[in-house]
């Protein structure tokens, strides 16, 4: 639309014709108050707070429904307008309980703020207020009708935003109430049969909808707010954690994203919003455990536990060589920790026996995209793409943010979504065309498209550009064939769906027996040749390590933030003769078998970066604190220290740290001093002071790992910065082993091992099971 110029409060403003006045004003820094208006949701014009005066129009107009046109003149603040707003607030306060001193929203309530601004300080009424008892709709959602101002944000968020439609309006007039979809026999109370995302609570401008996990826990001003990344699925939502000081550290009391930062704007799912409580689980490890002579795990000091672990690792390495040691890394630790872990394995333990629980075949994805720059789709690309083909996966369950972005893109931008799947999925409701496939039929998808016979194929082939998002149904050659088809077709970008908060980071950081960070083969290490004594033959995969342990060929196993013993097909008895060290937050099935257990900090208790499944890198900030635990980064550095290693070779901290002798291969460069210091200087960076500072490793990642040369202003500013998987030279690629990929199949209320320790998620699972039983009975 062409720009038009109009006048607001005497100021000339310019905005595209047809833009809503309230948006145009907000863009120009003129705040117009509104309860019912919510960007991205349908218009209501119900609260009448945004009234403004338009020249030559007899009545006050609502800014949320007035579109701007050339030459219009508006007044947004005047005694007349202030009086109108004050009168509206007076009416709202008439029945409002004014229980602000105990209300969750007290202190961050839009009704309070507007009362403060427009000053409806005196009550006009002497009659009793209308009252209704509070209702609990689910473990997550409570509704207090007297506080409700009926702005219908929750109704629209649930319906339009989430496509769940679990909320509606019951009755009319002054006895109108918001009602949940599963209405009880009395017609008055009810339960929510929904996705429990809590978005309704989030958008509520007052304290009418409150959260089961947060209500009556704190005053908003007692919290500090830390913006970090959710630890549950692979979408990487920004989450603002509300943290409060308690006796044994600082406690997370709330999770939301009200600052609307990051790729998810204000979106969070049930896991992100309520599933943070695992950090407070009573089963949380808070002391190192060492197996005693009687064969039992008993609490020990950090010094003792690290000494036991370090000396045993050193002994085995020196006696049997690195090939007798295995390392299993994590899908939920930071990039820096994963990078450090593989460097520790390769340069300290001298082994390539390193792997992680692979949930998607990112190695195959990297290989397929090798040499093709800008072909990976970030989540922002997906959010604005005009056409999207979703092959496999069920984002509504497994990638709630992706599902939100797809729905929103279809709803607001009229994007065209195409779905190919072997089962019906909820997103089909937004799809332009759907192609059913047999469970093993994903390999035929490209042939179906090429034949162009079905309406689905015709529509997809007619698209000028396409983002192809594919699930874990595609592995190994399946990934390569699909990507090759797309590259050949042209104007296609790709995204691949994995499972956990940093599965992509684990893969990108080289937790592979044959691949270094950036999918660089160990046999042709390139820049990684600076690693001292890097073993250049591929090591054992996760499954092979367990087999080797069973055959007494693996004497030690270090497991960081993983629970491989809980995986199907893994035999715990294999570890009988192996010295096992586990770093974890809980005594998992794997930790229970360990000889040394080191209590680790969760993602909410540390700093670093993570990479979501779309390759968007984001900053993780330490929010909570817990006595006794340490971040995996620190544990690894101290473990190396306890082995007598010069940790400067591991973490480039301080001055004059790393000297990389490249030996014969580089001739004249032999004995070159401190490549890291040279890099820091050329990038105008200072060396970090602490060996426990993950940023020192981030510097090294930026220096060595292809695709991770990240824009620091954006990264440290809390934005998502995209990385590329397609950076590896084609010649240097190893063969992938897609058969070791095992998707987690987490749902809306499960989060693998982590979710088991979340009371909130367990309650939601029970609630959902009850709702399903009831609806089956109906």
């Amino acid at each position: 639309m062409a720009d038009v110029t109009f006048t607001v409060d005497g100021k000339k403003l310019t905005a595209p014709a047809g833009m809503l006045l309230i948006d145009a004003c907000r863009k120009a820094g003129i705040e117009i108050p509104a309860f019912c208006y919510y960007p991205g949701l349908s218009l209501q014009a119900a609260c009448r707070m945004c009234v403004v005066r338009q020249e030559k129009v007899p009545k006050l107009q609502t800014a949320c429904t007035t579109t701007v046109a050339e030459g219009q003149v508006f007044t947004t603040e005047s005694p007349e307008i202030a009086q109108a707003r004050k009168a509206t607030i007076e009416l709202l306060l008439g029945n409002h309980p004014l229980d602000c001193p105990v209300c969750d929203a007290g202190g961050e309530c839009e009704l309070q703020d507007m009362t403060f601004k427009y000053g409806a300080g005196e009550s006009l009424y002497t009659e009793a207020k209308a009252h209704r008892d509070e209702q609990q709709w689910s473990p997550a959602v409570y509704y207090d009708r007297p506080r409700c101002i009926l702005c219908y944000r929750c109704v629209r968020m649930c319906g339009e935003g989430m496509d769940v439609w679990a909320l509606g309006v019951q009755n009319r007039g002054v006895v109108s109430v918001i009602a949940p979809n599963d209405v009880a026999a009395d017609g008055q109370t009810g339960q929510l049969d929904c996705e429990q995302c809590g978005m309704c609570i989030d958008v509520c401008p007052v304290g009418a909808l409150t959260s089961g996990s947060y209500r009556y826990k704190t005053r908003p001003w007692e919290m500090k707010h830390v913006s970090t990344v959710c630890t549950h699925c692979a979408d990487g939502c920004k989450v603002t954690l509300g943290v409060r000081q308690v006796n044994d550290g600082s406690e997370i009391v709330r999770a939301d994203n009200r600052d609307k930062s990051g790729i998810n704007n204000d979106f969070l799912c049930a896991k992100g919003r309520f599933g943070f409580d695992f950090v407070e689980s009573a089963e949380r490890l808070s002391k190192p455990l060492v197996r005693n002579a009687a064969g039992n795990l008993e609490p020990a000091t950090w010094e003792y536990a690290l000494r036991v672990a370090g000396s045993k690792l050193k002994e085995i390495r020196d006696a049997r060589g690195g090939s007798a040691i295995g390392v299993i890394g994590s899908n939920s630790t930071t990039n820096e920790e994963n990078y450090l872990l593989q460097k520790f394995a390769r340069t300290v333990l001298h082994t390539n026996n390193i792997d992680h629980e692979r949930t998607a075949d990112y190695a195959a994805f990297a290989r397929a995209l090798a040499g093709h720059k800008d072909k990976a789709a970030s989540l922002r690309d997906i959010a604005t793409a005009p056409a999207i083909l979703l092959a496999g996966g069920d984002p509504t369950e497994e990638h709630p943010l992706l599902a939100w972005e797809l729905r929103t893109n279809v709803r607001l931008n009229r994007a065209r979504l195409y779905i190919a799947n072997s089962k019906p999925i909820k997103l089909e409701r937004q799809a332009r065309a759907v192609q059913g496939l047999p469970p093993n039929g994903y390999k035929d998808l490209t042939a179906i498209l090429d034949r162009g016979e079905s309406d689905f194929a015709k529509a997809v082939m007619a698209e000028e550009s396409l983002v192809m998002i594919f699930g874990q149904e595609f592995r190994g050659e399946g990934v390569e064939a699909l990507v090759a088809w797309g590259l050949n077709r042209g104007n296609v970008r790709f995204a691949y769906l994995g499972d956990h908060s940093n599965s992509r980071g684990a893969a990108d950081m080289g937790l592979f027996p044959a691949l270094l960070p950036g999918y660089v083969p160990v046999s042709e290490p390139g820049a990684f040749a600076e690693y001292p004594d890097l073993p250049q033959t591929p090591g054992k995969s996760l499954g092979e390590m367990f087999l080797a342990a069973g055959n007494r060929e693996l004497s030690a196993l270090l497991v960081v933030g993983a629970n491989p013993v809980a995986k199907p097909g893994v035999n715990p008895a294999d570890l009988k003769n192996t010295f096992v060290i586990v770093q974890d937050i809980f005594l998992t099935e794997t930790a229970a078998l360990a000889d040394v257990v080191l209590p680790a900090a969760s993602l909410y208790e540390k700093s670093g970066t993570v990479t979501n499944t779309f390759g968007d890198v984001q900053l993780v900030k330490k929010a909570a604190d817990r006595a006794g635990v340490k971040p995996d980064f620190e544990i690894l550095v101290r473990l190396a220290g306890s082995m007598g290693v010069d940790v400067r070779a591991l973490v480039p901290f301080g001055k004059g740290g790393v000297t990389a002798d490249l030996g014969q291969s580089r001739g004249a460069q032999s004995g070159e001093a401190d490549r890291h210091a040279v890099w820091l200087e050329s990038n105008n960076l200072e060396p970090k002071f602490s060996p426990f500072d993950p940023l020192a490793t981030l510097d090294e990642i930026a220096r060595l790992v292809p695709g991770y040369q990240l824009d620091r202003i954006n990264l440290f500013g809390g934005n998502d910065v995209r990385t590329e998987p397609g950076f590896v030279p084609v010649s240097a690629l190893a063969v992938s082993t897609g058969d070791t990929v095992a998707p987690a199949h987490d749902t809306l209320f499960t989060s693998s091992t982590l979710g088991r320790y979340s009371t909130a998620l367990n309650e939601l699972q029970r609630h959902q099971a009850r709702e399903m039983t009831e609806s089956a009975a109906d």
């Binding site: 218009l43 209501q44 014009a45 119900a46 609260c47 009448r48 009234v51 009545k59 006050l60 429904t65 009086q83 109108a84 009168a87 509206t88 007076e90 009416l91 709202l92 008439g94 029945n95 006009l124 009424y125 002497t126 009659e127 209308a130 101002i149 009926l150 309006v169 009755n171 009319r172 007039g173 002054v174 006895v175 109108s176």
Partner: protein
Amino acid sequence: MPRLVSHPDEVKVVSQRFGLGAANIDRYIELGGYAATKKCLEQGPEWIIEEMKASSLRGRGGAGFPTGLKWSFVPKQSAKPKYVLVNGDESEPGTCKDHLIFLHDPHAVIEGTIIAGLAIGAKTGFIYLRGEYRYLLEIMDKAVADAYDKGFLGRNIFGSDTEFQIITQSGAGAYEVGEESALMESLEGKRGIPRIKPPFPAVVGLYGGPTVINNAETIATVPHIIDMGGAAFAAIGSARNGGTRLFSISGHVQRPGVYELPMGYNLKKMIYEVGGGIRGGRKLKAVVPGGSSTPVLLPEEIENLGMDFDQVGKAGSMLGSGGVVVIDDQTCIVEFALRTISFYQHESCGWCIPCREGTDWLKKSLTRFHAGYGVAKDIDNIQYLAENMLGRTFCPLGDAAAMPTIGFVKKFRKEFEEHLNGKPCPFAKHVELAVV
């Protein structure tokens, strides 16, 4: 069946077939029915709209928008189907005219709907009756079925190649759906809540198609205008207010009922001659001229008041739906205000804050006030509340509640003051005191 009334001053146009058995289609044809539709089929849409404009017929629902002009706003070309919608959700207290039309002359509504459809190029018409008019729906349904049987409705109406279908629908009991866009929501099966305007129904209406929505009386007038000619119809009424109107005279008159009188007919005459004067020899205290939502008028304000949209507007009230409510001197105005606001409080859809909360607080305040628990500042508060609803609500229902309230307080402040400080209602013998 309610008794029909009549008066020599009446000019029977719309009501000319009342009481003559015209609900029977053969009788209706015998009385000249369906000739207008045939004529329109021959003359075509432009001619119809010109006749309608010439008639200066203004919408009988209450707003008084010129009907011909409204029809001319509908775009000729439309990707979506166009619709004609008959608003038979007659719910304004004091108004009972459409009721008689459905009862006595359902085919006039059908004919008017077909003609409107021909004028705008619609193939479908909906006749929406208020929920409480279920027994009239049976009459309407029978009439529609008879019209189909005769071939007046269907794929080839009157043997032409023009299609027109009519679907009847009953409401579920909400005053709010008398508002045109709320009626469309209701018809589409949703909550009866008005839509944001623009777009207006002529552009985006029912199911997103261009829609003409008219009051049942307006529609029933159409065939008569076609029969007699627009200019002849206009000549009956006053300037810019063509024709006759069905006035529902109720309250404390000797002969209440629905009378068809020329637009501009003197209100005082309407009360004292047509309505037979105040019953029981009492005096006139006030009159509500156009249904309960219109501000009350005092006896001195109606001396020379002609009942058309412009004159009543000039007098500070509105002609509205033509529901004339006569109030005698034994009536407590505070109670009258309470009854009025109680209706709007009950009927407020609850969508917007000023109406939802405002009508409720007005009702609560007036209930307490009338019961003798009022204090001096209540009077100002009641006026303040109503004035702050006026013009601020999402739809006209808020205004409909605020306008009469303001009128009562302004014009009868003294009577409000007589209720103050624990004094019982001066008219207490009529009233059951509500206890707060």
